[in-house]
Every structure is written in structure tokens, then in C-alpha cells.
Symmetry: D2
Subunit: 377 residues, 4 copies
Amino acid sequence: MARVEIGQQLGMSPASVSDLTASLLDEGILVADETGESGAGLLRGRPKVRLTFADTLGSVIGVWTGFNRIELRLVDSAGRNRASRHIERPLRNLAAEELMDVLAETITAFARETGAPDVKAIGLACQGYVDTRDGIVAWSPVLGTRDIPLAAGLGQRLGLPVLIENDASAMAFAIAQRHTELRSGRTACLMVGDGVGLGFLIQGELYRGARFGGSEFGHVRLRRSGPQCRCGGRGCIEAFLADYALHRDAQLIDHRPAPTVLIPGEDAMDAIVAQARAGDTALSGLFREAGEVLGDAVSILIQTLEPDHIVICGPGTRAMDLLRPSFETALESQTIPELRALATIQVVESSMDLLTEGVVMQALRELDYGLARLKAA
Amino acid sequence: MARVEIGQQLGMSPASVSDLTASLLDEGILVADETGESGAGLLRGRPKVRLTFADTLGSVIGVWTGFNRIELRLVDSAGRNRASRHIERPLRNLAAEELMDVLAETITAFARETGAPDVKAIGLACQGYVDTRDGIVAWSPVLGTRDIPLAAGLGQRLGLPVLIENDASAMAFAIAQRHTELRSGRTACLMVGDGVGLGFLIQGELYRGARFGGSEFGHVRLRRSGPQCRCGGRGCIEAFLADYALHRDAQLIDHRPAPTVLIPGEDAMDAIVAQARAGDTALSGLFREAGEVLGDAVSILIQTLEPDHIVICGPGTRAMDLLRPSFETALESQTIPELRALATIQVVESSMDLLTEGVVMQALRELDYGLARLKAA
Amino acid sequence: MARVEIGQQLGMSPASVSDLTASLLDEGILVADETGESGAGLLRGRPKVRLTFADTLGSVIGVWTGFNRIELRLVDSAGRNRASRHIERPLRNLAAEELMDVLAETITAFARETGAPDVKAIGLACQGYVDTRDGIVAWSPVLGTRDIPLAAGLGQRLGLPVLIENDASAMAFAIAQRHTELRSGRTACLMVGDGVGLGFLIQGELYRGARFGGSEFGHVRLRRSGPQCRCGGRGCIEAFLADYALHRDAQLIDHRPAPTVLIPGEDAMDAIVAQARAGDTALSGLFREAGEVLGDAVSILIQTLEPDHIVICGPGTRAMDLLRPSFETALESQTIPELRALATIQVVESSMDLLTEGVVMQALRELDYGLARLKAA
Amino acid sequence: MARVEIGQQLGMSPASVSDLTASLLDEGILVADETGESGAGLLRGRPKVRLTFADTLGSVIGVWTGFNRIELRLVDSAGRNRASRHIERPLRNLAAEELMDVLAETITAFARETGAPDVKAIGLACQGYVDTRDGIVAWSPVLGTRDIPLAAGLGQRLGLPVLIENDASAMAFAIAQRHTELRSGRTACLMVGDGVGLGFLIQGELYRGARFGGSEFGHVRLRRSGPQCRCGGRGCIEAFLADYALHRDAQLIDHRPAPTVLIPGEDAMDAIVAQARAGDTALSGLFREAGEVLGDAVSILIQTLEPDHIVICGPGTRAMDLLRPSFETALESQTIPELRALATIQVVESSMDLLTEGVVMQALRELDYGLARLKAA
């Protein structure tokens, strides 16, 4: 965190911030990072003048809940990754209370087993429409219940502050922390993976809509009468591009035995990509179609939001070489050239790790500001 | 079989036919059916003046091969159904020789266990493009190999004549035998079930194309960028209407546990239909979309073939009440009214039984003509 | 006309035909064509042993009615083209009686001005659904009225037999006369020009549907929510491929001044094609899209009719070089390869002249048979 | 303008603003509006405590340029409409310099003929992508040239400050001034008329993208292989909903004589709407299809921007009764219900007048702030 950011957030003059940080450095709460290197942990703040919190001020646990798995990550107050865990667990059929019980137990066990020191907060990211102010998962394609008060429910069970976020927004936040230039202007991050989501940043801050959520861009209907989507609609962007969609269609082409899970793992997806790269006509066709949809989707973002930056990220970027030809053709054929020319388009290869990183960073930032506010008071 | 038909087929004058049939009645080969009733067996020939073969002249076995099952039926020379059997057996992964071994064993066991008297011929129907003259399955969505010489291969193994046919053509033939009026003019039978197929009859005889096959109408692409089809294409008629397609999409909506088979059984389909009838919005949407595709498909048939009759048949008719509103809207909205007015449109509820009936009837007819030719010589 | 054809048509033995033709040759009604050359006129009958009618037995006038023009052609009894004429005349807004008056006057004037000797019959081709038995234009996109008894109405006015035919069927007939191989097996002729039509031949004879018409294949809906078509539907094959459609879309791209006619002339179409060939991106896009639709259309024909031959003909073939890349991609991507391999696909460059030629040949054939029947009686 | 707004804009404390406004009221520059009524002129600022500028401080001219017409409006410094004019003039084929000459002459003549007192500024709105900071029309579907420096070019010719704006943004701004509640939260205004555009407001201020433009949402491709659009693409929202698109398609259905202009006038559109309301099937179909596209478009806005308010405005609202059934079906069928529930959806019937009003208000606001800044300095 740079001094200027602290100042902006707290509404303090640079001079007051300098006084405050000097005091915090003295007390060992802040540590000056002279190297400018990012080290093994998370990248927080701008290079050059960097102050990090000491790693002894407690830790934060980041959680991602998917259709049938939970990802966990333990990070210390300096932003260093201390432990992570992948748990296979079907969540879809749980009622709201059960879901919160399961998550609380899982988090507690993870903290105990990793010897997590002084956990200060939980950050949780999930697919779907998340009311970030009230901490409610209004709707999620991977949960069977609607309007789950997840932040309050988990908070009560764990006795800790819980921040929840849409997963694409969390990843967008994490990426913008790593890539400084994405924090100026408007940046639209399209995350492709288990689903398709959008995190939209204006000057580095997440755009918030009417209910403090992010968008559900992945469920925009791009092809009337297209393939079925998990949301109940048809022809959504996600129904072409998400791992589950590609896997579903690949399975039909190959007449493979039916899978035992609806959501494929990384190995299954790698196998499909490898087979398409090896020249399988029908599987190549899947990626050609998906690439066309990706091009149309980015075209919509460009023509609706006039962004400075487009980022394509998430595990789905593993097949970017297969998606690219039809992606570019679709994008060029349909976008006003003057608008197209405005936006940089970057592909950031990124696993689901970046999700938990993103939500941890958001939680840490809240803690930082809370701490700074306390000191400043 | 009516005398006039025998005459037409053999190129004999009515008088000569009368002499011949009198002789065959004397010998007990033909039996006059005075009732005009169809009895328990198959309907063969026109009502009124009916001659049937005696039931002591041997029998025929009809077979249908699906993705993971085999249907068998034993019929005597009078057209009466004697036994039938349903066998679950994955066929898709078998090589051509293995497939023919399995089928030969299955048929032999069935004949033995049912005490089939003096089997004269085998009729076999399957999905896909079937060269009926040379007895070759050129391509089938349910078989892993192409260009299988099924008639010759099975014939050698069983020592019997084997007739093979596309399954929708077999069903069309069976239906036309039951419904006299469908044997005059042009009749397009759209079979909806495991897949979607077309049997097209001109004056009661199956239309044959360049390779003596039927059509692959189910794989007409109706919606570019539509759902994935088993043939490797996208947006085929089948990819909306076939049981496997409806089941695949229903499963995604419900997030049910994954099935252990790709092709759903009758129970699974009934459950989906019941849930849609009970008002489930997303499932109703599936049938609305499928109905629209059915309307477009029938419109293509009307505008391409100018038929006198359209028949919608097969197990998929179980949900005709759910399909009908959007079917009719699509049909009306897109078809030249003058052409639309020409064709009667009938729904014939029909299980897969009708398939084996159809192929048995074709085999019996071949035998009949062979026998009659022999006698006439 | 070859002796064997006469025999087949009249149900006479070859010997009786020889007697008859010898007599007709003596009388000067038939003329033996020793060269085997087609000469300047029409090609009628098979090569090798050719008998043509003498050119002194009268003549036939062929007529084509389009949206705003009439094409006329005078042919003598030997099949030689004697005169032709192109008349610009809006027909769309005429009531049925007016239309028939205009046509009768136009034909009479043409016959008078060209000194047509002893006109025996009129052959008239038009777009739309034509009941060829009763001589009724049931519906046409270029006429404002439905169910016009054109054959009877014109026949009364002119005192001559009038044969009417769908224009794509007439062109298919003409092409099959010129290309012997297209008269064996099943030949689907897709005519692209003012509209899109299908003429389907089985063993050289036009397929007739329930009302003795041809198909309205051009109005098959290939793209739901596609461009508006003249028939009132959307996304019809014609709405992408017909001259009027390409011209409409080109005009919008270019913001040219609005045209004074809805249906463009040959010059206007040539200009669009030239501009696209010169590299205009948006205009090239029109042909790419049209080519894709053409590929899907041919795929439907192949998968529905299993034809031996596909012919793409009509003025729209002028841009076949621009249509071909996307045509082939679409066709390959969507058609079962075994079916695709069965059909030859030929492009026959052909102007609207071939239309009037086709309908004249049909009228001549009717006259020939009538004459032969008379003599044979 | 309310005191609190002035304070926010100028970064002054409420107390300082009170001092400033008291002084301006004394000088006769500001006038207190005690009635709270909007009077004959424009609505500016919040009700209750309203200060308006005196009408003697000069005037502003608002201009809208369409495909073949110019709309002009004269407004005084109190926001009262003094005169307006409609001029038919093709602009599409003009080069950049010619265009600016024509506009300068037209504006000068209008000012002279209306006796415009002391014109202070020009506000100009047009379709297309407008760089509002540098005053450049980067691209417009109604202009033949790209990157026109319209603000500078007109400014030089007229010797006045010129503000340019995308027309949908101008209308959105005007509507938000009239409807207070639309100035809180996020408001997406979809303008339907000559084209389709989007004005997006956050807390009452226009969202600006990378080049200070608005969106080109009307050119989002909603239907691959859909109708041709003016932008060179296919299946854009505009290609279904804009007046030119409805008129083009209606014309084809009716086979009316071709129009002499590409862009229909209000009378032509009213005639089409009346005919559809009277039950014309094909014309009703146009509005059904357009309504479905409108529903999908609003669904995209909801799922991408999570807005508090959706406004459908512009002349195209004249047919809202015809659009509504399919609009609602499409919107409900495709939008996540939780997101759908967040946004109010309003239809604001509005002619092109509102466009010039919007751009005038923006220009006036700039003047106001300039004046206030001057006084505050």
C-alpha cells in the first residue's frame, strides 16, 4: 500500500499520512519494502514506494466455492501465501444452513490443520450474483438456494468478519493489483473457467451496481436457440465457453462413457484440449464456436463500456490458441473499428488460485483500512 | 396382401393372379381372412379382400439396435407377434466384427429361447444412413465404425437372408400399413425418439436415394450455433428433439447427479415430461424450444416435398401436448399457406415396437414375393 | 426425341414405333438429324439417333413473368430460337384479370411483331407455387393476388393451349435436356436469381407434389431472426441469396441513393459483384454470408433427398467465386460425409433465357406427344 | 440549479455558495424560482430550492444532425425554448469541410432568422461515436467521413464554443433532468428511433469511456446472420429496431413502390404502426421480432451494468404497445430474476426534440459553471 493511497482512502493530507506511517513503522506494524520485488507473496500496491504490513499481525483465509469443490488459502498480514487446500465436496444440494455449517467446519479444520496464526477475517468468493454490501448470495448457478446470507451466517459461526464477493470480480481485483496499468481507466476482466464472469474496474475500483453486486455477463444470451445453460436460459456466453459446456459437448461427440460429475476437473479439460490440438475435427469445432462467442462477447463489452483494457483470464485461457482465430474474426467483423482500437486486449493465464488471492486481498485491504483508521483516530 | 397387389408386383393379369391364389389357398399356403379385422398380429394389405399367409410357413425375427440396447421381435408367417425382448447392451464401442458377433449371438439365443419355428429371415433396423441394396450401414450415430456390411456379415453368421433398413423408414413403412390413406400420395413420417429420422413414402413405397438409403433429415442444421449434436454438427433438428438432447438439457437445469448412461430410458423421459407438465418453467422451456424446431422441420418438409401427409411418430410424441403450441406457431409463421393447406398432419403415438414391426413386415413382404414368384414360375 | 422415348410415353412396342416414325418421316413431320449436333436451337432428346420435328409445324412462345418485367421467346417446332424480347412492366399491383389482359396483349403483340408462324401453344413460367395440373398460380411473391387461374384465363384470351410451370422447375427441365447425365437418378436444381427455387427431377421427370406443384424451397427458414423475406417470413434462403436481397443489403452499406425499383437489374448486380471482388470488406461479407446459407441449403437437399446430382444454376451463379469459400465450409461442416460423397455438385451458369427455354421445351413435348398420339390412334 | 449542486461542482462549502448566490441574485444574474413549477422552458435542477439564470444572459443553439435532416433549437439562458426548426438536407455524401460549411451556414441562418439574442454557445448531437473531450465525431453511421473535428471546425466558423455529444447521451441527460429519481444510482437510457443508442448515467453524470465517448450499444450483434445493419455488420440491435430497419422490412412485405429516401419520416412510420395495429400479420411480425430484440437488449444492460433504472425512450416508443408482449417474454425468459427485480423499467415517450434539449442543457451547464467559476474566482 502506497502512502498516497492511504491518504486517499482516509481523506488525510499527505503530510498527515507521513506522520502516521512513520509512527506505524516505528511500532513494527508497517514494514518498508526497499526491494520493490514482489517476493513469494501477493503483490499489493504500486511499486517504488512500498509499505507492507508486518507478517505478524494475523492472517486471512480466502475461500472459493464451486459446484462440487472448495478451494482454501491462508495468507499472512504481509500478503504471503502460507497454505492452500483443494477439497472435493458437492455443495449444490445443501440447504442454506447446511451449506454454512459445512463451510464453517471446513474453514475451521483448515485453520487448525495449517496452524493459522490469529485469523482476522475470511474472504469468500463464489459464482453468481453477490450482494457485497449485505453479504448475501442472491443467486448462484452452483447453489440450490437463493438469497443466502452467507457473510452473516459464516460470521456468526466463526466469530470473524466475512467478506464475500463474486468470483470474477475477485479475480479482476487480483489481476489489477498485479498489473498497475489496469488500475487506470476502465478495465473489463472476462473470466472464463467453471463459468464465465465479468469483473469491471473503474480506476482500479470494482464497479458496483444497484445491489452492490457485479455483473452476470456470462448469462447474456448471445445465440437465441443456442445450447442450454445452467441458469435455465439458452445460448448464454457461458453455455459455449465454460468448462462444463465444452466438456458436455466433447463427451457427446466422443460417445465416451458418461462422467460421474457434471463439472470436469483440470485433467479432463486438458485431455479435450490436447485432442483438439492434435487435429480432431469435431473437437476443434467446439473451440472454433467458443472462440466466435468470445469474440462477440468482447465486442459487446467494447461497444457497451468503451473500456481502456480488456483482460481475458481464468482457467479457460488454457485453450486460447484454439479460440484465437475465430475470436479475432468475430471481434473484427462486428466491432466499430474506432472503438476496437481504443482497448488493449490482454490474455492473463490464471488458475483458480488467483480467485482466492483476489478475495484475500480485498479482505486484507479492509483490515488495513480498519487498522489505519484506528490508528488515525 | 390383396390380389391386386400381387398382380402389380408380379406383373400378372388379375385373372392369372386369381388362378394362382386359388391354387395357393388349396395348398394351405394362403388363408382368406373373411373378418377384415386386424386381429392380434400385424396389419398387412388393404382391408376388404384379404389373403394372409398361413402361420405355419416359418417366422421372421425383427431387430432394432440402439445406442445401448437391442430390441427383438418374433413374428410368424401370418404376421402375428409371437415374442419380444429388450436387452441392455452397449454397442457403440464394438468393432464391426465384434458387433456382428454380438448381434448373431443375441438373435440365436432369442430364437432358441422363444422356440422360434423355422426362421426364414431377419429384418434389422438401425439409426443412420443405411445402404439397403448392399446391406451396409454407411454411418450411424450409435455405432463407432463406418461402412459395416451388416446384412452380409449377419447373413453368413446366421445362414439366413438379412434385410437392413433405416429405423425411421421401417417405422414409416409400418405406419403406412396400418393407415391405408397414407399409402396414396406422398407421406413424410418424422420419427422422434432416440434420434430424429425421416421415412418418406411415395404411393406407399419408400423413397430411395442415390445409395438406396433414406434421408438423414434429423441432422439438418436448423440453428447455426445451436446445441451440440451426436453427429458432430451443431443445431441439428435432433439436437433439440431427441430424447438424449432433452435429457441432457433437463439434467443441466436440475443439477441432478450425472446419469450413468448417455441415452435415457423411458422412465427418465416420463419424469421430465411430468415435471414440465406440472409447471416447471425451465423444463417447459425445453419443450417450447423443441416444439419450435419441430414446426420449422415440418415446414421444411412441406416446402421441399409438397407432401399429401405429414406423420409425426415415435416415442417423442409422448410430449406432443407440450410441443404443440410452439410447434403450431412456428409452422404457421413460416409456411406458405397454400402449401400448408395441402398436407394433413397426424400424430401417431408409437413406441419402438413399431420399428421392429416395420422391418419384419418388409422382410415378410420380400419372402411373400419370393414365394409367390416361385409358385408363379 | 428418340424412338425409345416415344415408345415409352405411348406404351408402344419398339417395332410399332418404328412403323409410326417411318410414316411420320415420309410425311415430313419428323426429320432425321444425322449430325448428332445440337445446332443453334434447343437440345431435345438423347444424342445418337435423333428425330426432330420439322420446323414448319408451327411455333411455341415461352414467357417468364418477374416482379417488374416479362421475358418472351419464340421457338419453332424444331426447337430453334426465332426471337426473344425483354419488357419492363410492373405486374405486382395488377388484379388477376388485369394481369391476364396485360399478358395476353403482350404475347399477342410479340407474336405479331415477330411474325410468329402458326403459334401452337404458350408456355409460361413464374415464381411461386404453381398448380401445374389445373394451371393455377396458387401463390407468388411477385404477384399481388393468390389463386390465379392463369392457364385457363390466358388460354381463353389467346385461343391457345397454355402450360404454366414454376420457373425453377422450368430451368431444371431445360438443364436436364442439355446434360444427359442429369436425367438419370435424382437431380436437385437450385436456381438462384430473382429468387431462389428448386426443381427436382427423378429420372429426368419433374417431381410433383400433392398439388402437382414444385417446392417452395427458397422459403425454407434457415436463420430464425434472419433478414426479412418477400414472403413475409424471416431468414428464408432467398432472403440472403436472391438478387433483391443482396442489392437491398449492399445499398444500406453504401448509403447509395435509394433505388427506383425493388428488383435490381443485371447491371446493378454486376456492379455489386465487381465492388466485392475489388476487395470491399462489407460487400464481401454479404457474399460470405450468402455462401454459408447456400452451403446449408445444399446440405439440407443432400440430407433430405439423397440426390445423385446437385445443380446450382441461375443468374446468381455470376458470383460463385465469391460464394464458394463459405459455401464449401458450411457444406463440409454440416453434412454426413457418406451422404455428401454421393452427390455430384455442378454449377451451371445460366441466365433467365434458360427459363423460357425450359418452359418452351415442356410445351413442345406436350405438343409432340399430342401429335404422336394423334398419329398413333 | 440548486445551491448544493453548485457547491459540489465548484468544491465550495455550502456557506461559501450561499454568499456567492446572494451576490449573483443581487446582480440579476440568478433568479429565484419560488413556484417550483417547470414553466414553459426546460427543467433544470431539483425542485424545492431553485435558482435559475436570468433569461437575459444570452442564448444557446442546439442542433441534431441525422441522415438527411437537421433539427435546430434556440434556448435562452433561463432554459426557455424560443424557436425550433426542421430542415431536410442530405448530409451523408458531404466531405468533412463541406459538412461543417453547411452546418455553419444553417446555424447562422437560423440564428439570424429567429433573432437569437447574444448566442453564447452551440450544442450539437449526432449519431455515432463521439469523442466529447476533443470534439471529434470518430464514426457515425450517417456521415460518410470518419474522425471529423466537428467542435473545432464549427467553432472556428462560428466564433463560438461548440460542445458535441452522442445523441443518445444527450437524450439521456435531458430525461434525467426531467426525472429526478433517474439522477440517483445507475440509469441506462436506451434510445430507439433513427438508430438505437445508449446513454448511461451514474449519479446523474454521463458515463465516459476510454475516449470520452458514449457506447455504441446499438451495434451490438444480437443475432448472428441477422438483418444487415448500416454499420456494415449484421444482426445488430439497430438492424431490428431502428426506424430505417422497420421501414425497410415493411416495404418488402408490402411490395410498395420503393421510397425516395432511405430514412423514413414520422408519417411513414405512423402508417406502418397503424397498419400493424389494424392486424396486418406480417407487419405485426416485424414488431414482435423487434420487441424480442428489445427484450434481449435490456437483458444485456441489466446483466452487464446492474442498473437501478432502465429507460426506453425516443421516437420508437410510438410502437411500444406492439413491442411489449415479446419484449416482456424475452426479458423474463433470459434474465436472472434477482437482477431483473433490481431495475425499474420506464418508457419515456419522447420525440427528437428531447435530443436538442439535452445537448442545449449540457451546453448551458458548461456556461453556468464557467460563469460561476468566474464569479467565484
